[in-house]
């Protein structure tokens, strides 16, 4: 399982690094919000979920998709704006969804996914089959009213939900300390009568364990948990034609990207230390990831652009 987690984290990182290159080359369109550095959150959480569990995501959603098991071919085709993309090219990077695997969509609106996640959790509660929903959002989202309303109602209704705050220390250019007074986002939980847990978001096993506990609680009918994952956005907030210049200090960046803090390196070292992963197995894994990504790009480029005459298709359900 841990090896699978490592593979997923590497794939997420390489996917986004590739997306940046493709965007620079103008082969993919729109905006790219890289998840590089935060992989342990998506993978730690989703590895504790079942396929039938659901998630909602954010503008920075590629990692959540991959961690929940999305097909990178169709993701890549969506970035390329092609008909074989998850949304037939209608959505793009910020609106990838795969309802078949319970990925209910990226979302361009900060905190916009939280109420929707509550609704999915309500559905699961009514279904009674023990499914849970995990809902990803950033530190910046804690400034929004929808964050508060969702915590309140989820707690009141004991919804099977895990609120996953990805505190990557920044909302766009603003450091989290500059937009809220209390650093520990888990402190919000108390006023709603639900558990608030802070974990090292760069320790995928810790995230997994904390999620598992929250999932058990949720499946047991005891309601939601607020999981606060401290992590770091290695790269820029968003790019269109070119990556914007870095404005944060080199020291800060170095402290988070150091081998002992990088989630991927940490898991590699951990698995190596346990003797579960050899140097050559890791090399093979990285090669496979690269091959899969090359194949995804080939898949995307082989897919046609949507036909303008299909512009009105998908508007209203029959």
């Amino acid at each position: 399982m841990s090896v699978e987690m490592l593979r997923a984290m590497i794939l997420i990182r390489e996917f986004d690094l590739l997306a940046i290159e493709l965007r620079k080359q103008k082969r993919v369109h729109g905006v790219v919000h890289p998840y590089v550095g935060e992989e342990a959150v998506a993978v730690g959480v989703c590895s504790a979920l079942r396929r039938t569990d659901r998630i909602t995501s954010t503008h920075r959603g590629h990692g959540h998709c991959i961690a929940k098991g999305a097909d990178i071919n169709r993701m890549m085709a969506e970035l390329f704006g092609r008909v074989d993309g998850y949304c037939k090219g209608k959505g793009g990077s910020m609106h990838i969804a795969d309802f078949a695997i319970g990925m209910l969509g990226a979302n361009g609106i900060v905190a916009g996914g939280l109420p929707i996640a509550c609704g999915a959790a309500l559905a699961a509660q009514l279904e009674g089959a023990g499914a849970v929903t995990a809902c990803f959002f950033g530190d910046g989202a804690t400034g929004e009213g929808e964050f508060h309303e969702s915590l309140n109602i989820a707690s009141l209704w004991k919804l099977p939900l895990i609120f996953v705050c990805e505190n990557n220390q920044y909302g766009a250019e603003n450091a989290v300390e500059s937009v809220r007074v209390v650093g520990d986002i888990a402190t919000h939980a108390a006023a709603y009568g639900l558990p608030g847990v802070t974990v090292d978001g760069n320790d995928v096993l810790a995230v997994h364990d904390a999620t598992r506990a929250a999932v058990e609680r949720a499946r047991g009918g005891d309601g939601p948990t607020l999981l606060h994952c401290r992590t770091f956005r290695w790269l820029f907030h968003a790019m269109r034609d070119a990556p914007p210049p870095e404005t944060r200090s080199a020291d800060l960046l170095a402290s988070w990207t150091a081998r002992d803090r990088d989630a991927i390196a940490r898991l590699e070292d951990h698995l190596a230390g346990q003797g579960v992963l050899t140097e050559s197995a890791l090399r093979t894994m990285r090669d496979e990831v690269k091959r899969d990504l090359d194949a995804a790009v080939a898949f995307a480029e082989a897919s046609p652009y949507p036909d303008p005459k299909d512009l009105l298709v998908d508007m209203f359900a029959p």
Partner: protein, 316 residues
């Protein structure tokens, strides 16, 4: 046929649809005691005063297999939830490439005339019409209210269902049994030759009263009730105007960028209908102010029969 009130008709629709389909659930800030007794607290909930959250909950549950009916209370309170409506509900199916359906119905009351002033007397359906992606329903009679609410709940898309407050206690004949009214089909509430009056909600009644009065003078007024604003039955409206050559639209929303503006635009831009138009189309709408509290001011702000009649006479 039984005579029941608009409100009773809506209550019947809810009861019957919840009976018919166990996936129909409902919530609002106000307890729906009768429904809760019948269907239990799991399917019938009351919520904290958190419109953004429970509007999104309706959408999320719809995308996960349920058919929520969410009552906002007054349309006023929907503005707290506007992100979920504009940025999420109206776009969610299309932007995800049609991979899931979102059968959620949002109900709300609308309109002025009860001295509850600016914030609580709004009629902003055109704001929602402008968003491609929502169906918009605005019934004018108890029978239409029941039949359209049933269709809305069975529709596989987000629907906003407006309930005109001044109609709540109005009674009318409602057929027994499971009778639906399709979305997107206008009704000629009174046939006529000389002028087409398109009325919305309460103003269908007022237009009919004016038509009745003018008939005595030999003026023949056709009164059309669109019943749904999206989809709008453009064909029916245009056909009527091609027949009468004259158009008056009556609504209690302010005129600017209103449903009335839209109806005039769809009539004017169609070559054949334009050629048939013999007089300037007229809007009889609210004054461009927030609805004032004081009765004489409120009365002056909203359309009435005298203003409808005057508009008809202007175009004849």
């Amino acid at each position: 046929m039984r005579e029941i009130s608009f409100t009773q008709a809506l209550d019947e629709a809810m009861l019957e649809e919840m009976e018919r389909d166990a996936r129909v659930i409902t919530f609002a800030t106000r307890r729906a005691t009768a429904l809760e007794r019948t269907f239990g607290g799991k399917r019938v909930r009351f919520t904290p005063i958190s419109e953004a959250a429970f509007t999104g909950i309706g959408l999320g549950a719809a995308g996960s297999g349920y058919r929520p009916v969410v009552h906002w209370g007054m349309v006023t309170f929907s503005f707290v939830a506007m992100d979920q409506i504009v940025n999420q509900a109206s776009k969610i199916r299309y932007m995800f490439g049609g991979q899931a359906d979102f059968p959620v119905t949002y109900r709300c009351t609308t309109g002025g005339g009860a001295q509850i002033a600016a914030q609580h007397s709004q009629s902003p359906y055109s704001m929602f019409m402008h968003l491609a992606g929502l169906k918009i329903v605005l019934p004018a009679t108890p029978a239409d209210a029941k039949g359209l609410l049933k269709s809305s709940i069975r529709d596989n898309n987000p629907v906003i269902f407006f309930e005109c407050s001044r109609l709540a206690a109005v009674t009318g004949p409602v057929p027994d049994g499971d009778v639906t009214v399709p979305l997107g089909v206008a009704e000629v509430k009174r046939a006529g030759r000389d002028v087409t009056v398109v009325g919305l909600a309460y103003y269908v009644r007022e237009a009919l009263a004016v038509a009745e009065a003018l008939a005595r003078e030999g003026i023949s007024v056709e009164v059309i009730d669109p019943r749904t604003l999206v989809p709008l039955d453009v064909a029916a409206i245009r056909a009527s105007v091609r027949k009468t050559g004259r158009l008056v639209v009556v609504d209690e929303a302010p005129a600017t960028c209103s449903a009335a503006s839209e109806i005039i635009a769809v009539v004017t831009e169609d070559p054949e209908t334009f050629r048939a138009l013999k007089a300037p189309a007229q809007r009889v709408c609210a004054a461009p102010v927030p609805v004032p509290f004081s009765p004489p001011l409120e009365k002056a702000a909203l359309p009435d029969q005298a203003r409808i009649e005057a508009a008809i006479r202007r175009v004849l």
